[in-house]
């Protein structure tokens, strides 16, 4: 009897996971609890363990495929059992989540249980609110027509025909046409990739038939064209998809304003230098970012209005101070969180930053590393960036953007000029949560804390 391996759910709001890579190939023996594949979610990469002992009999989703929670992604067979498993209905693609619609609590619960993206459900309640019946109808419909979502992929008729002929799931094809529309050339490429993959391992359930690709209409190589040539089109990875969704949501929903202050970084930099000079080998490297986290935590203690968020039409002030730090990685950025930053020493903060940055770059962050942030810091001071504004990371109410500390001529107390490293700090805040005066007071304390670091002790 074949045992399915399903796309597991790792996080509360998770709707789907993307196959990162298969650690076992079809035919490999696996034991219960052994890692079979890696799945990439919006935030992290997780290993999926085998639910039983047996042989990996069939793989239903290729790396890169996005699969809704609860869908089978592979079948295990008992050792010695033929490896042909029942061919499952092909997975409906989870369309990118749009703006979450209003839904009744029961509908939300039901949708969560079934891993349904509420934005895909048409609401028939008051003001288009999604009701329990709507979700039930959606579930029934998708049981009856598992292909239904395929129709929602924007694809030209020629691409649909070719996808049908070649057994390509359009929801896994990146479109190169206007607005991401899938052209037949995109399908042909996807089919070729499928074929290539299938030559390296037994044929998956819905890979291309052996026939040659049908004639694909050619797009001319255009000379002297006025519009830029597309070098490559990148389908959104889990991380980029999350960035796209959350930043768009933030800009769309949160009325944001920006306040800046220039900070004399002389003493702050001196402290970092002192630490570095005193540190022994093997100790965590002290950074200005660590000091910034420390100072933010200190200031947030005094201004709880900024350690806050906006959720479900309410302002939430958190008692924990968990500071997310934006870290650039190859594909984009991740925001590991320094939890309880207000209770940590500068050295502890530096140690944690070192740790999460390293693991983040290696793609080894755990879910807990990235959850629970209450405020975010983005420091681009290592680049030639004097000042910038960041986009609030919802549901948080504020984000701090830090530019480089550049030498500038400033007046001293006597009205004489002197040269000092000055950095511009900019807070972007959600006006639904805080107002200018509150942010102003917060910025004043930030400045005070950085210019007189002794206060942080």
């Amino acid at each position: 009897m074949a045992v399915p391996i399903i796309m597991p759910k790792f996080e509360m709001a998770q709707e789907s996971g993307t196959i990162a890579r298969w650690l076992k190939q079809v035919g490999d023996p696996v034991s219960k609890g052994e890692a079979v594949l890696e799945v990439e979610t919006d935030k992290i990469t997780m290993e999926v363990e085998s639910p039983a002992d047996g042989v990996l009999a069939q793989v239903l989703a290729e790396p890169g495929a996005r699969v809704p929670i609860g869908q089978p992604i592979a079948y295990l067979a008992a050792a010695g059992e033929p490896t042909a498993a029942p061919s499952p209905a092909s997975q409906p693609a989870s369309a990118p989540a749009g703006r979450p619609p209003k839904a009744t609590p029961i509908a939300q619960k039901l949708a969560a249980e079934h891993g349904i993206d509420l934005s895909q459900v048409t609401g028939t309640g008051r003001d288009g609110q999604v009701t329990r019946q709507d979700v039930e109808a959606f579930i029934a419909r998708h049981k009856a027509h598992p292909q239904a979502d395929q129709a929602k992929v924007a694809a030209v008729p020629a691409a649909r025909r070719m996808a049908n002929e070649l057994g390509v799931d359009l929801s896994h094809v990146a479109g190169s046409g206007p607005g991401g529309r899938v052209q037949s050339s995109d399908v042909a490429r996807a089919a070729a990739a499928q074929r290539e993959a299938s030559t390296q391992r037994p044929v998956p359930a819905h890979s291309a038939p052996a026939s040659a690709a049908p004639a694909m209409v050619e797009t001319p190589e255009v000379k002297g064209q006025r519009t830029p040539t597309v070098r490559r089109t990148l389908p959104l990875s889990g991380m980029r998809r999350t960035i796209a969704q959350r930043m768009s949501q933030s800009v769309r929903e949160a009325p944001q304003f920006n306040l800046s202050v220039d900070v004399d970084m002389s003493r702050a930099l001196a402290i970092i230098e002192d630490w570095r000079a005193a540190q022994a080998e093997g100790q965590p490297r002290m950074t200005l970012t660590a000091l910034l986290v420390k100072t933010c935590a200190w200031a947030l203690q005094r201004h709880p209005a900024l350690n806050a968020g906006f959720k479900d039409e309410a302002i939430i002030e958190w008692s924990d101070i968990n500071i997310g730090v934006a870290v650039a990685v190859d594909e984009g950025l991740i925001v590991p969180v320094i939890h309880h930053a207000d209770r940590l020493s500068l050295l502890e903060i530096a140690a944690r930053l070192n740790d999460v940055s390293a693991r983040g770059r290696a793609g080894q962050l755990q879910l807990a590393d990235v959850q629970g942030g209450t405020f975010t810091l983005s420091n681009l001071g290592m680049f030639a960036v004097d000042r910038f504004t960041a986009i609030v990371n919802p549901p948080q109410a504020a984000i701090l953007a830090v530019g480089r500390a550049a030498k500038r001529i400033v007046p001293d107390d006597q009205g004489q000029t002197r040269v000092a490293p000055i950095a511009t700090l900019t807070v972007s805040a959600d006006h639904r949560v805080v107002d200018g005066a509150q942010v102003g007071r917060f910025l004043s304390d930030l400045q005070r804390g950085l210019e007189r670091p002794g206060l942080l002790l």
Binding site: V156, A158, P178, Q183, V217, E218, T219, P220, K223, Q225
Partner: protein, 706 residues
């Protein structure tokens, strides 16, 4: 002063006619009345699908007038036409079956009460349009005149027609051309509810003076007086002295149609006319003259009633038409096509490949020596005008029944010089200049095209065809179908179309899409001199009315044209340029523009396949489908306005076809803006798709930017 009722007590006018003729006339009057009374009963019984216009009271008009004709003569009739048909000798069984919409009906159940014409018998049309049959009467008279058949045409129309432009245009034409036609105004006092005395400020007969023909008024309740007046007019026409107008004063006892409550006249008025009933008077006259006895008179009436009862029984027992035959009679089909199941019924959208179609029979019959279908183009170059002229000249040379008709086509050579020299070569009888009477040009062509001539009508500008829509759309296009497929209408309407000449809003239109929407018409729009000749000869040879669209800017374009007569098949597209990236479909002026755009794009690496439709109906869907399957991209361009334009048909047909699944991008249409063509040169260009517009749209389509 108008007079409506003549002396009520006068006896009928004695005529020296053989007894059997007189008795036949009496029988026909009874037969008409019995038919109409039975028709009314069928209507009451719910057996008649539509309405009807009863002739009761007017029997003497049809019988008296038609008695003056020879059997070979022809008539045109009206919506109240049952009486004319019976008097002309039509089979009342076929007529009753037609009324009951049966397959055995004179029009196979396709025409009904208003179209009971038996063309072979010489009834060229009962007509649902007031004054609508007058053009065809003059056309038939023109056929009689030019073909020297010795036939007469009698044109029946009501008092309502006298206020219509057709009346004036056709009486005028018949008079200046001295044609053998007798105009019979059946003045039954009311055009529906409008009294003639209020609608017409003079006696109808007096209007004849304006057209230099005799006009007489006669008592329509006296069949012998009617005969006498008609005979005089017929004799005059037969003697070559031209047309006459006979006004017959008569009365319909029943309402205009079955829904008429007759609020516009009094019961007393009806009774006063019934007191002078033509049948009673004629019977009394014949008894008084000793021609027959009362008992014999009753026998004649009873025989008529029995004949009608039999007709009703025949009609009742007849089958209804088969829906499978719905489309059979819309177009004349070549005999070879009729036997080929694949060709059965005209293929308006030819989605199957066009096999070698047989040459039109008229073409092979007419030209002893010809180059067949689509011969090699050869070396000789002609302009568009010259190619058209050569087609007409060769047809006229080979077939004496081909004539040209239009405004200023004679010595002047036509508004665009297309007919230059043909007047000198073929003379004024066959190159007929007309007054400014567009509807009559179309109507005369329609009637002539039904009766043996092959008229080629030229309109100075396509815009002016709006003045002839009634004769083209309501008459010529429908006549074959209305009459159950029992006639043809072989005519070509040449329309110089389009903008680009600075002639502004009323001389620059592109109206071809209108005609595509009319069942019964074929629409041809060539783009090269080669096609202009080949398609015009195909149009002349086609025994259907053809709308032939000539873009004015193409008249001066040169191209190779074979010297012998040849045809380009109607309904077959041409691939003007092969390509693999974008399909561009168009016709007429859009073609040179599309080809120029394609040449430009070739330099950019974009290869366009350019398809010239050549004919808009029927059209060659197959060729477009094949191309779209290859390129995945379809651009359609035409000068006519975009909204509701012809391109929409092509786009929709492709979207509904198997080629849909090959589309890589939305189908793109280019068409004229929703604007009257402006005078200013820059605005005029901007109003319609130009080469650069086609190039840009094709470029964007090729790059999948649309």
């Amino acid at each position: 002063m108008t007079s409506s009722i003549v002396d009520t007590n006068a006896p009928v006018s004695a005529q020296a006619l053989p007894f059997e003729r007189l008795l036949k006339m009496l029988y026909e009057m009874h037969l008409i009345r019995a038919f109409e009374e039975a028709a009314e009963q069928q209507y009451f019984a719910g057996k008649v699908h539509g309405t009807m216009h009863l002739y009761i009271g007017e029997e003497a008009t049809a019988v008296g007038c038609i008695a003056a004709l020879e059997p070979g003569d022809q008539i045109t009739s009206t919506h109240r036409g049952h009486g004319h048909a019976i008097a002309k000798g039509q089979d009342v069984r076929e007529m009753m079956a037609e009324l009951l919409a049966k397959r055995t009906g004179v029009c196979r159940g396709l025409g009904g009460s208003m179209h009971m014409a038996d063309v072979e018998l010489g009834n060229l049309g009962a007509n649902g349009i007031v004054a609508g049959g007058m053009g065809s009467a003059v056309g038939a008279a023109l056929s009689a005149h030019l073909l020297k058949t010795g036939r007469m045409v009698m044109c029946f129309f009501g008092d309502g027609a006298v206020s219509n432009g057709n009346f004036h245009e056709t009486l005028n034409l018949a008079s200046i051309w001295k044609l053998p036609v007798v105009f019979v105004c059946e003045n039954n006092q009311y055009a529906m509810s409008m009294p003639a005395r209020e609608a017409i400020p003079v006696r109808v007969a007096d209007r004849a003076a304006a057209y230099a023909m005799p006009g007489v008024q006669v008592d329509g309740m006296d069949v012998l007086a009617v005969y006498q007046a008609a005979k005089a007019a017929v004799d005059r026409a037969r003697a070559g002295q031209g047309p006459s107008l006979v006004e017959v004063l008569t009365y319909r006892y029943k309402g205009h149609s079955r829904s008429d409550k007759q609020v516009y006249r009094s019961k007393e008025e009806v009774k006063a006319w019934q007191a002078r009933d033509a049948i009673i008077r004629f019977e009394a006259h014949l008894i008084q003259q000793g021609v027959l006895t009362r008992a014999q008179a009753d026998d004649i009436r009873n025989r008529a009633i029995r004949d009608i009862e039999e007709a009703v029984a025949f009609a009742d027992a007849s089958p209804e038409p088969d829906p499978a035959e719905l489309l059979n009679e819309v177009y004349y089909e070549e005999p070879a096509n009729r036997t080929d199941p694949a060709m059965r019924g005209i293929m308006l959208r030819t989605s199957a490949p066009i096999n070698a179609r047989p040459l039109p029979t008229w073409f092979t019959r007419t030209f002893a020596q010809h180059a067949g279908s689509e011969p090699p183009p050869g070396e000789r170059e002609l302009t568009g005008s010259e190619a058209l002229r050569e087609a007409m000249a060769q047809a006229m040379e080979a077939a004496p029944n081909v004539i040209l008709i239009g405004e200023d086509i004679g010595k002047y050579g036509g508004a665009f010089g297309v007919t230059l020299g043909l007047y000198d070569r073929f003379g004024p009888e066959r190159v007929r200049d007309t007054p400014i009477s567009e509807n009559a040009i179309a109507g005369v062509s329609f009637g002539a095209g039904m009766t043996g001539l092959v008229p080629i009508a030229e309109f100075q500008f396509q815009d002016f065809v709006t003045l002839a829509m009634e004769q083209i759309v309501l008459q010529a296009a429908k006549v074959r179908y209305m009459f159950g497929g029992r006639t043809i209408c072989q005519m070509v309407v040449r329309l110089p179309a389009g903008s680009g000449t600075g002639a502004a809003a009323q001389h620059s239109e592109s109206l071809e899409s209108w005609f595509v929407n009319v069942p019964g018409l074929k629409v041809v729009a060539p783009s090269t001199p080669y096609d202009m000749k080949g398609l015009l000869l195909a149009a002349i040879s086609d025994q259907n009315p053809i709308i032939f669209v000539e873009h004015k800017l193409l008249y001066r374009v040169k191209g190779p044209v074979p010297e012998l007569p040849y045809v380009v098949p109607i309904g077959k597209a041409a691939v003007r340029r092969a390509g693999r990236h974008v399909t561009i479909v168009g016709a007429s002026i859009a073609m040179p523009r599309a080809l120029e755009a394609a040449a430009q794009l070739a330099g950019e690496g974009i290869e366009c396949e350019v398809i010239d439709l050549r004919t808009l109906k029927p059209y060659d869907l197959h060729t477009i489908m094949q191309s779209v399957k290859k390129t995945g991209r379809l651009l359609i361009a035409h000068e006519a306005p975009l909204i509701g334009g012809y391109g929409a048909e092509i786009a929709a047909a492709i979207a509904q076809s198997e080629a849909f699944a090959y589309l890589e991008a939305p189908i793109v249409r280019l068409g004229g803006a929703d604007v009257p063509i402006p005078y200013n040169r820059t605005l005029e260009r901007a109003a319609t798709p130009q080469t650069e517009d086609i190039a840009e749209a094709a470029r964007r389509l090729a790059r999948l930017q649309i």
